[in-house]
Symmetry: none
Subunit: 121 residues, 4 copies
Amino acid sequence: MLAASQTAAAKMGVALTCAVVDVRGDLVALARMDGVAFLTADVARGKAITSALFGQPSGGLPPQMGPILQSLGSIARTDILPIQGALPIVRNGQTLGAIGCSGASSQQDEDAARAGVQTFR
Amino acid sequence: MLAASQTAAAKMGVALTCAVVDVRGDLVALARMDGVAFLTADVARGKAITSALFGQPSGGLPPQMGPILQSLGSIARTDILPIQGALPIVRNGQTLGAIGCSGASSQQDEDAARAGVQTFR
Amino acid sequence: MLAASQTAAAKMGVALTCAVVDVRGDLVALARMDGVAFLTADVARGKAITSALFGQPSGGLPPQMGPILQSLGSIARTDILPIQGALPIVRNGQTLGAIGCSGASSQQDEDAARAGVQTFR
Amino acid sequence: MLAASQTAAAKMGVALTCAVVDVRGDLVALARMDGVAFLTADVARGKAITSALFGQPSGGLPPQMGPILQSLGSIARTDILPIQGALPIVRNGQTLGAIGCSGASSQQDEDAARAGVQTFR
């Protein structure tokens, strides 16, 4: 999945960090491309966690949920980041995890994540 | 750079703390002028971190990003402070770090930071 | 590097998580093999950070340094885990980062890490 | 003071980060020489804090005080690091602050700190 996302990123002319998490939000795999800022690792993971926990795109949560999400992340001791760029990994209607990317525009991040998800299906 | 910022501060009749960080946000140099409150050291550093991580003036981030920045700082365990007073240090289009100042008005803080940046070029 | 470590793990009949970090301790790549506990991701990363920051095997630090390392990790807000299983990535005498593994015995973890390092050379 | 410490370090053929703190342990000035690891900034500061708060060399505290110092640092929310390499800045019998260095052997760190202190007198 990460290879597909990186290929998509290269085609768009951007460099990204992408992260795959399981349904619990724990890290399964991560790859940071050359020259990408360190912060993107945490951002990609945070987006992926958000997508996995809610079973939907990380950018699809209503903005007014922001404070609740912050409390949720604190209570559950996980890193929730409701920013566009992560998509859930779903099989037979069941969320298995998510993949999130960071480093370019939010739309490009999500496009790269989608390329990864499509490999999985 | 710090000497130039302090000279600029003295010309404005203010006393400041200025901090230089690298592109990762780690402290490279810091100087607190006589009589400046201790809090300014953390504020100058936090502004500089923000400017380095985003490659732009610390006061230029849109206010609605506030909550996301708070989450980001918490997730990445770094001190993000999106307040005017820090400028990125850029060479050949690449951000190498930032310099941030604190102790006077935000505009004066930024003016002193600019004096430091100009020495670097 | 991760592929080489996973191949070595498979040959030993164990399943691991391995993590690669840069010289600052920031995550570059991580891969968790099927069926490996979530905790191994943090452990592999912590070992790798330790190896990168000290430029030596994570298991080589003297035990009496334990309390100091705990303080250091807390002060520098990074995850130091002085347990065998990570090796530094060195080129021309300069530490570039480290690779750490977790999931089997400490010796097997280190053997898998070594397989990864050898690919790099 | 920092210039004198850096000169001493250069004479010893080492590169350091040195930090000056006031009697409260708050940062007054810091300088990281080229190529010195980020961790040294926190270590130099932590040593200097320890020296300033106890009015003695940071390496002079008895090892059995370790756990108490850790609790003290946590309670007072400051970073105590009882490792050799920092010396108090004293005038007329009164501790005004401390200077701490990190990056070489503990003895060299302290020697560089001493060069800084001697400039102050």
